[in-house]
């Protein structure tokens, strides 16, 4: 079977990110292209961090899911350039992150000079801006640890890159 491309997009939008299952691969903005090369369905993805351990799992998940849905031949291609940025996370994805308890990255990552510009990441629990950095690194390379000074809850912030 050679499903049409919009159907494939819909399927991809249902594959969760392996580390943050609250959002899909499409929400994350890493699916750059979907197309056919002869009879092979080629999905082009951009890795998030160079060393992100989820990269291989993501490729495997895409292949498994599309084959399961009935595609005949699937190939996942890695594309480095242009480099992924958190600006590609969809608005819907940002809202899902917040609901999941992860403060979404600030927009404008391309001009973001790094961590210190994110001092006021809003607390995903109570919405307060009165927050502080605990550590520049969190449970995954893409997140930092923050604490809310109002509700005192610690939370993950998805770093802008």
């Amino acid at each position: 079977m050679q499903p049409d491309l919009s159907t494939v997009q819909d399927w991809l939008a249902q594959i969760p990110d392996p580390e943050i299952p609250a959002i899909s691969l499409v929400d994350l903005g890493i699916v750059r292209d979907v197309g056919y090369e002869d009879d092979t369905l080629v999905v082009t993805v951009t890795p998030t961090y160079s060393g992100c351990p989820a990269t291989a799992i993501i490729a495997l998940d895409i292949e498994t899911e599309l084959l399961k849905r009935g595609a005949d031949k699937v190939k996942v291609r890695q594309q480095m350039s242009p480099a992924w940025t958190t600006d590609w996370i969809s608005d819907e994805g940002r809202e899902k992150l917040r609901a999941y308890g992860i403060a979404p990255p600030q927009q404008g990552a391309a001009t973001c000079a790094g961590m210190l510009s994110a001092q006021n990441a809003a607390c995903p629990q109570c919405g307060s801006d009165n927050t502080e950095v605990i550590s520049q690194r969190g449970s995954t390379p893409c997140k930092a640890q923050f604490r809310c000074r109002d509700c005192l809850e610690p939370f993950d912030y998805f770093k802008a890159i």
Binding site: S50, G51, M80, P82, G114, Q136, G138, T140, P141
Partner: protein, 249 residues
């Protein structure tokens, strides 16, 4: 060896060996947050290694994979700077080594992001964002610990005194660098040296640390002549592939 392959291996070997050293903190760092930070930075660096080895292997055209380059080369063929192979010793040494490397790595990646070589440019445009975070963190901690307690100041100064001569190997240049600069693939080395000096002078002064007045320059790593620590790193890192050649997960 082809100059471009040498250049890519030097970049990749720096990232791999520092990543390996950094990963040694996993489960051992003084606080949980730093433990996680070191492990995550190691991941970034090892990810970057794969990209550099990918470019090197493709240009070399001998069918070697990034894994072959990491696990099957002997010590003399590793071209990382001597700085990154220095032992962890204590947390101060590890942080100072990281900071000195980052102070060189960020301006290097910023320039490589404008490289005439498409593969290098794509790689650097990605990794420069990661490296920016690395320097943010190491600079912050150098200042806090250097300008901290008497004990933390002493440890940071000891680390700086020990590691400073090895920075010569980061900044060393030869005909490979000249050729890369001529072809617009990599920046003119003097440009990076200038950025490194500006960064380290400003930050170390803020950290109340004194750059040692030594004329000792430790170089050779970029040509494969390493300190005694390198063999131990490779013995551990390569043991599985040496014992069970071709083993796969």
């Amino acid at each position: 060896m082809d100059a471009f392959v040498t250049f890519c291996l030097r970049m990749g070997d720096n990232a791999l060996i520092l990543g390996q050293r950094t990963a040694e903190w996993c489960g051992h760092a003084p606080v949980l947050e730093e433990d996680i930070a070191f492990a995550n930075m190691g991941l970034d660096l090892i990810g970057q290694t794969q990209l550099w080895y990918g470019l090197a292997a493709e240009a070399e055209g001998k069918g070697r994979t990034p894994d072959d380059l990491a696990f099957l080369r002997p010590e003399r063929q590793f071209l990382n700077s001597l700085l990154v192979e220095q032992p962890n010793t204590d947390f101060g040494h590890a942080l100072m080594r990281q900071y000195l490397f980052d102070a060189w790595h960020l301006p290097m990646q910023e320039e490589l992001a404008k490289s005439s070589h498409e593969g290098v440019r794509g790689l650097a445009q990605k990794t420069v964002k990661e490296v920016r975070y690395h320097l943010d963190r190491s600079r912050d901690l150098i200042v806090r610990l250097g300008d901290g307690s008497e004990e933390s100041h002493k440890r940071m100064q000891d680390a700086l005194d020990w590691l400073w001569p090895f920075t010569a190997d980061l900044l060393a240049t030869d005909e490979v660098d000249a050729q890369m600069a001529d072809e617009g693939i990599a920046p003119v080395p003097a440009l990076i040296a200038k950025a490194f000096d500006a960064e380290t002078q400003a930050t170390l002064a803020r950290a109340t640390l004194t750059i040692p007045e030594t004329r000792l320059r430790r170089t050779g790593g970029r040509d494969g002549i390493h300190t005694e620590h390198m063999g131990y790193i490779l013995a551990e890192m390569q043991s599985l592939q040496r014992t069970y050649p071709g083993a796969r997960w």
